[in-house]
């Protein structure tokens, strides 16, 4: 049984111009003990779909899904009170901005201990000792002296460590990390990533790592999902994705990596931007930026197709040599 199973997830927000589907048709399966990376540009719906899985989409957003299960428990029909017992204990999440994600009014020790107290994870008398142990575990020096520190008295990297301590406090089986290193400088990024992966291996947690850094993906993940404009466009084992991307968007993303563009005078880019609320194209959402787009791409919405775990949302998925297949006019020539 997969740890997290998501099928046909959609998140919609009402706007003045009608309902906007920030996330549409997202699928995801996370097995216990594996690392899954979710990549995509800003605004591609990575965070929103994970927040939806955690039940953190606030009013007025609306979440719908064909399937949303955690360890076999149907989260869609679970009453909110029962669902909150899972959230923060069995499934935890850390966020992008450690500075603003911690409450400025409370000491960090108290904030880390809160989940332990609320979920009755350890007897009350042992909360303090456990918090010290957790802070030490995430690499905070002299943890016992840091219990009373406020977030504004610590650095961003230290605060992110506090966030991680908070998330792992109740021994979650699934940890979702939403761009945990984006707000940190490069040397700290590496430390935080190593810490997360170390904890993941040690505890056998499932880890979903949201990132837009392909370098991070290559180093950490067993499997990758690529998102574009609120849709999952490709999924693949990491090595396969890097070797032979099937969706033109993934291929373009990989081409834009500086280390893959050695010897070229200019770094390749993807022209245009992710379609926003007002300029959604018909057919495939990537068609305005796709170099292989045909009239069919403008008219017909592609479905996820291909073998399980290696699917792509494209009418003409690329072959190993990077040529479009499926009867594309270029391929015939």
């Amino acid at each position: 049984m997969p740890l997290l199973e998501v099928r046909d997830l959609a998140v919609a927000f009402p706007t003045a111009r009608g309902t906007f589907r920030a996330v549409d048709g997202v699928e995801m399966v996370v097995e216990a003990g594996e690392v899954l990376c979710v990549v995509g540009e800003s605004g591609s719906g990575k965070s929103v779909s994970m927040l939806a899985a955690m039940g953190l989409i606030g009013w007025p957003g609306r979440v719908s899904a064909g399937t949303l299960r955690f360890d076999g428990t149907d989260l869609l029909t679970l009453p909110p009170r029962r669902r909150r017992r899972l959230v923060g204990r069995d499934m935890a999440m850390i966020f992008q901005e450690p500075m603003s994600s911690l409450n400025p009014c409370y000491p960090v020790g108290w904030q880390v201990g809160e989940a332990l107290r609320v979920h009755h994870a350890v007897p009350r008398a042992e909360v303090r000792g456990r918090v010290v142990e957790l802070l030490g575990k995430v690499g905070i020096p002299a943890p016992a002296t840091r219990l009373g520190a406020f977030p504004h008295q610590m650095s961003g990297g230290m605060n992110q460590r506090v966030m991680i301590a908070m998330a792992i406090s109740c021994n979650p089986r699934l940890l979702i990390a939403d761009e945990p290193t984006t707000a940190l400088d490069v040397t700290i990024q590496k430390q935080i990533l190593d810490l997360l992966l170390g904890l993941q291996r040690e505890r056998g947690m499932g880890l979903v790592l949201i990132t837009h850094d392909m370098g991070v993906v290559a180093e950490t993940a067993q499997r990758v999902q690529v998102m574009y404009a609120g849709q999952m466009v490709e999924e693949a084992p990491t090595a396969e994705l890097f070797a032979a991307p099937r969706h033109p968007y993934t291929a373009a993303l990989l081409e834009a990596l500086p280390e893959r563009a050695l010897g070229r005078r200019r770094l390749p880019t993807i022209p245009g931007v992710v379609p926003g609320i007002a300029d959604r194209p018909g057919g495939c959402l990537f068609n305005p930026r796709c170099r292989f787009a045909t009239p069919r791409c403008l008219a017909e919405v592609p479905k996820l197709a291909g073998p399980a775990g290696r699917r792509a949302r494209c009418h003409y998925p690329l072959d190993a040599a990077g040529r479009p297949t499926g009867g594309h006019p270029d391929a015939a020539a």
Binding site: R81, M93, F95, E97, S101, N103, P104, C105, V118
Partner: protein, 334 residues
């Protein structure tokens, strides 16, 4: 912290001088001085009037009168009432507990009702409750106190007969004036009905005086809560699996209170201004009532001294509010 305190205290002095200058000049712009008001109707001679004015020093140039008054105040002497010849400080201290009692009840009433209403409106933003409350609070914040007081008396005292019309306690009850706070004195008296009588006298003035602060606090709490509820740390709190109540009260409210406390502090000025009207409408024997009378009698020392004391109080409360920030917000503690 010490530097901050010293800077604030240093600012008090110019404010003092400004307040006395204003009240000194404004009351002298009103036609008629205390001597004229007291003896004018008895038809005394112009010579006698001039003599009395000279004795009181009202014939000296204004600036000399002002300098003399400032010098007197600087020595801690607020002077004596021209009318009663009692010391201004003594009269103020006798009447002040009545005003404090009313103001404290009014602000507690405003906080007790306004804060939860604002929180609920923010949590249920866009709902019928939210719109209804915000509409009502505009009405409440712009309610003229004298009219509102009279309407409350008409409905609850005259038509329904639920509450007394005026005063602090029923004539039928005798209470030893020990602290000056009627509720406390009534509590320590042997009379069982005393507390009930004091409460029934207090309830309408409290509501009338508390209405404007209530509306202001509710609006401020709502907008402050709305802002805080969108913060990242609220998402973190929910990601811990905390219930809505705990997220709102423990994580959001404490942060949202910082601007609300400022507003509550600023309301103290409004409150004392409102107390003057409320005390007049309900014949509440407090400082406001006393100040209004001093204007009618052109009792210069009472008006100037009373205004100065009320201004001091407002400044002290605002200083207290600034200190309360440090408690609420650890970021400015040092």
């Amino acid at each position: 912290m010490i530097r901050f305190l010293l800077r604030r205290v240093a600012l008090i002095l110019p404010t003092f001088i400004g307040v006395t200058l204003l009240s000194f000049m404004l009351i002298r712009l009103v036609p008629g001085d205390p001597i004229e008001i007291r003896f004018g109707e008895r038809g005394i001679s112009a010579e006698r009037l001039a003599e009395l004015r000279h004795e009181a020093g009202f014939d000296r140039p204004l600036w000399r009168q002002f300098v003399a008054y400032e010098a007197q105040v600087a020595q801690g002497d607020l002077g004596t009432s021209v009318v009663t010849h009692d010391s201004v400080w003594g009269e103020f201290i006798t009447l002040f507990p009545a005003t404090i009692e009313l103001s404290v009840c009014a602000i507690l009433f405003a906080i007790a009702i306004g804060l939860p209403l604002g929180v609920i409106a923010a949590v249920r933003r866009g709902s019928v409750f939210d719109y209804g409350l915000m509409g009502l609070s505009v009405t409440g914040a712009s309610m003229p106190i004298f009219w509102w007081g009279l309407m409350m008396i008409l409905v609850f005292s005259v038509a329904l007969g639920w509450t007394p019309v005026s005063g602090r306690i029923s004539d039928a009850v005798y209470v030893v004036p020990w602290s000056g706070f009627m509720l406390i004195d009534a509590w320590y008296s042997d009379d069982a009905g005393a507390v009930r009588s004091a409460l029934s006298h207090l309830i309408l003035p409290t509501i009338v005086l508390g209405t404007i602060p209530l509306a202001t606090i509710a609006r401020m709490t709502r907008s402050s809560m709305l802002e805080v509820l969108g913060e990242d740390y609220i998402r973190t709190a929910r990601a811990k699996g905390l219930g809505t109540l705990r997220v709102v009260v423990v994580h959001a409210l404490r942060n949202a209170l910082i601007p609300v406390v400022t507003v509550i502090g600023l309301q103290v000025g409004t409150l004392l201004g409102g107390a003057i009207l409320t005390e007049t409408v309900f014949s509440w024997p407090g400082v406001g009532h006393w100040l209004i009378e001093s204007i009618q009698r052109r009792d210069y020392p009472v008006l100037q001294g009373g205004t100065l004391l009320v201004a001091t109080l407002v400044m002290l409360v605002n200083l207290g509010v600034d200190l309360a920030y440090g408690f609420l917000n650890p970021r400015i503690r040092r």
